[in-house]
Symmetry: C2
Subunit: 193 residues, 2 copies
DNA sequence: AGTGATATGGACGCACCGTCCGTTTCGCCG
DNA sequence: CGGCGAAACGGACGGTGCGTCCATATCACT
């Protein structure tokens, strides 16, 4: 890859901007590739050249926001970053995920992203992070448990909680925090190490 | 409703049989309404008269199998039925759900059922059951927690575990059992009543 | 400026959805 | 037993969105 041609880069930016606007207005599920192409002022083939489907566009838009959280997890202050107890870090991660879903959930909800969410790079990152926490806490079968613990913050679940059940984000966070502590706190372990 | 006309009943049976065969062969996601109608030997309008979409057909097919588990939860022997400790019952419920997904997961995976899974009657049933367990175990915010605890046995999650991660059903069951115990067992509570 | 590689755009073919309406079948009633 | 209104049927139809194809325009390097 010798460097992206100038017109290609310009069109990529246009597409992303158009998609962001349309997704925000109509919801990611109700926007067709044709609409995005028209709004961006590019042809459909141009769109398909860069992004194989809607999911890829949504992922590209999400990436930016997710990267911020990823940085925090790696090198931020506790309890999100390193230093706190695993249960605390998991609770903090859950809370951050809820915030992320509150802000940008509309990008993923309803689109095929839901089906492919396990494939996107971000999921692998969350997975690795929580896996580390589970290993730190000496949980058995961490590779399986990590999937179970990620499931409660799946976009569909969050949407269900917020829209159908009318739970507040705060209540959801509280329940997730309790879940984190119940799963990772070993009561017999001495707290003051 | 004065009683279903004979031809209507016959066609309903045909449709369900055809759908079951096609879903089993090609997967629920890859079967169109047209295919089902053709296989059943009925017109498309006839199909739409009974079932608004693929999801409704899949739900109708699943219902039968789910009902068996529902009966067990209500009146079966412990630990699935009443009598055992909440953590035991939750673990047993998880195991039964895994069995259900192993057997009939292909009906729901990939179809729109995934999107609407919160709407189907069966979900409400699982929800009520687990909610009862949570109340018995004096968990806080049970209405929120129940959604979090149901998420790990969502069809997509299970498929991901089995197909992409190559975890065995047994490993998943074991992890779910551990999750159930970690969440619901109160270590300080006396085990002997 | 010339030139080959790369990118563009919109038309095209395809598949499926969900509806519409003329025709057929049912089951009751005289 | 035959007629009749209601209910069900079936396949054609219009519409939407997908993903591809290729003639044309644009770029970047010499």
């Amino acid at each position: 890859m010798v460097a992206e041609r100038a017109d290609a880069a310009r069109n990529r930016r246009r597409v992303l901007a158009a998609a962001a606007a349309l997704f925000a207005e109509h919801g990611a599920a109700n926007v067709s590739m044709e609409q995005i192409a028209a709004e961006a002022g590019v042809g459909k083939a141009t769109l398909y050249r860069r992004f194989p489907d809607r999911a890829a566009i949504a992922v590209a838009l999400l990436d930016e926001h997710e990267r911020a959280l990823q940085d925090e997890l790696i090198s931020g202050a506790p309890p999100l970053g390193p230093g706190a107890a695993p249960a605390e870090r998991l609770a903090a991660f859950y809370a951050a995920m809820v915030d992320l879903l509150e802000q940008h959930g509309h990008l993923v909800l309803g689109a095929e992203v839901g089906h492919r969410r396990f494939d996107v790079g971000a999921y692998q990152f969350w997975r690795t992070h929580v896996l580390t926490l589970l290993r730190d806490a000496h949980v058995e079968r961490p590779e399986v448990m990590v999937e179970l613990l990620l499931a409660p913050v799946a976009p569909e679940v969050h949407r269900h909680q917020r829209e159908a059940l009318h739970h507040t984000a705060e209540r959801v966070k509280a329940a997730l925090a309790e879940l984190a502590h119940r799963v990772l706190d070993r009561p017999e372990t001495d707290k003051g190490t």
